[in-house]
Symmetry: C2
């Protein structure tokens, strides 16, 4: 058996990949990944062979990577953001029996790269929620939205909208508004990639048209505020210890 | 004005720092941070001057870093894990008015580095929760625990125990057990540092004694399972598309 690295490459720019992730990619005989992520690291891959496919090709992709590793190759299976969160590490473990030569290398997930672009909205207890109903029924997503309101969590929303599914985000923000008022929302499209857009708004002024699958929305909790164009959730140091 | 980088250094090992974070540290005139984090990157700092202090010294630390940056220095304020989540980015924005020369550099947060050591427990919708009541009253924490049960979220628990506060974790796990059954728990102490301990157990067998402030606990959702010693939350690809 060779080796399979499952590598989180972060949001896109190469300087947000960890050294461990970069070393894995550089030491691999073969790079597997979703088309878009392979494109993002094209210049790192050089002439190495790649295997890439599209959405809904995840099982085929993971099986291909596992088979190549079994045959003795060193393989990197690359994932956008982290390697596990809404990514492929768990499918790798589900599809194989011998874990000895599998290494999971974490990456910067979008919630954190997006938060850094907006200011500091993610500062304390947090929910990360995907609105994709491909793998999670919307009934469960709705229950989680109710839970978020109860806990007054800051929320990072992944996959807020796709072509087939354009109304869920509105339903979610409407629920937040009804239960917690006109919260501050940060929208980052193409974070740390070409054509990045950063926008901060309130729920009632939310611009649904700029949101797509390459957008992450962070909705603050009831303490989040806007200062000089940055979105800030106070951690509570000043309330506790004074300034 | 000089420049202030707020840098997330990840869990501890230097190869889990991003290149952007490393470059910031190497280009700085001065490094500020909590004692323990300064120690972790000691060999990267070399002979640069440092300012470090302990817990509850956060306001003093941030003010010192901001003042040095104002006076023209390039300063890195380093944080364990990410630079914003349970960290100092938001306090920086709270304590200054001119944001032009402040740059937030995200880092690998403990939930994700710990998840990678356990297998792939973090795979879909997630709550990150701190049990420290220094800045968040336990009443709010309890409400959030109720919300987690309603949403059946995978939960990463930071700061699970301190010397003064050793019963909250038991209260939380008891609530999870009552509402959702005997969930699988992953315990990682000193993740990616010397003396790392990785342990997977069920709530009823939970070993409270090994938990301390350098431990993160990940509690699965009702779908999380154990396979060959790894903790896995299925993403749902196999249920949806078959194997």
């Amino acid at each position: 058996m060779g080796k399979l690295f499952v590598v989180g490459i972060g949001p896109g720019k190469h300087d947000l990949i960890t050294k461990r992730g970069l070393d894995a990619i550089l030491s691999s005989d073969l790079i597997c990944g979703y088309n878009k992520y392979i494109d993002l690291i094209d210049s790192l891959i050089g002439n190495k062979p790649t295997f890439s496919n599209g959405m809904k090709g995840e099982i085929e992709r993971v099986k291909f990577a596992l088979n190549k590793a079994k045959s003795g190759k060193t393989v990197s299976l690359v994932c956008g953001g982290d390697s596990s969160l809404y990514a492929l590490a768990s499918l790798v473990f589900e599809l194989c029996e011998d874990f000895e030569n599998i290494e999971i290398i974490p990456g910067i997930t979008a919630a954190l790269s997006v938060s850094a672009r907006l200011g500091a909205p993610i500062c304390e207890d947090l929910v990360i929620l995907s609105l994709s109903d491909l793998l999670t029924p919307f009934e469960i997503i709705k229950k989680r939205v109710d839970a978020i309101n109860i806990g007054d969590f800051v929320t990072a929303i992944y996959n807020p909208k796709s072509k087939k599914r354009d109304k869920y985000l509105k339903v979610v923000l409407e629920s937040f508004y009804q239960q917690r008022g006109n919260l501050i929302c940060g929208i980052v499209k193409n974070c740390e990639r070409d054509n990045e857009i950063v926008k901060i708004t309130k729920i009632t002024d939310f611009d649904y048209d700029i949101v797509d699958m390459s957008t992450v929305v962070i909705v603050g909790n009831t303490k989040t505020y806007l200062k000089n164009g940055k979105m800030i959730t106070p951690r509570g140091y000043l309330r506790k210890y004074g300034s």
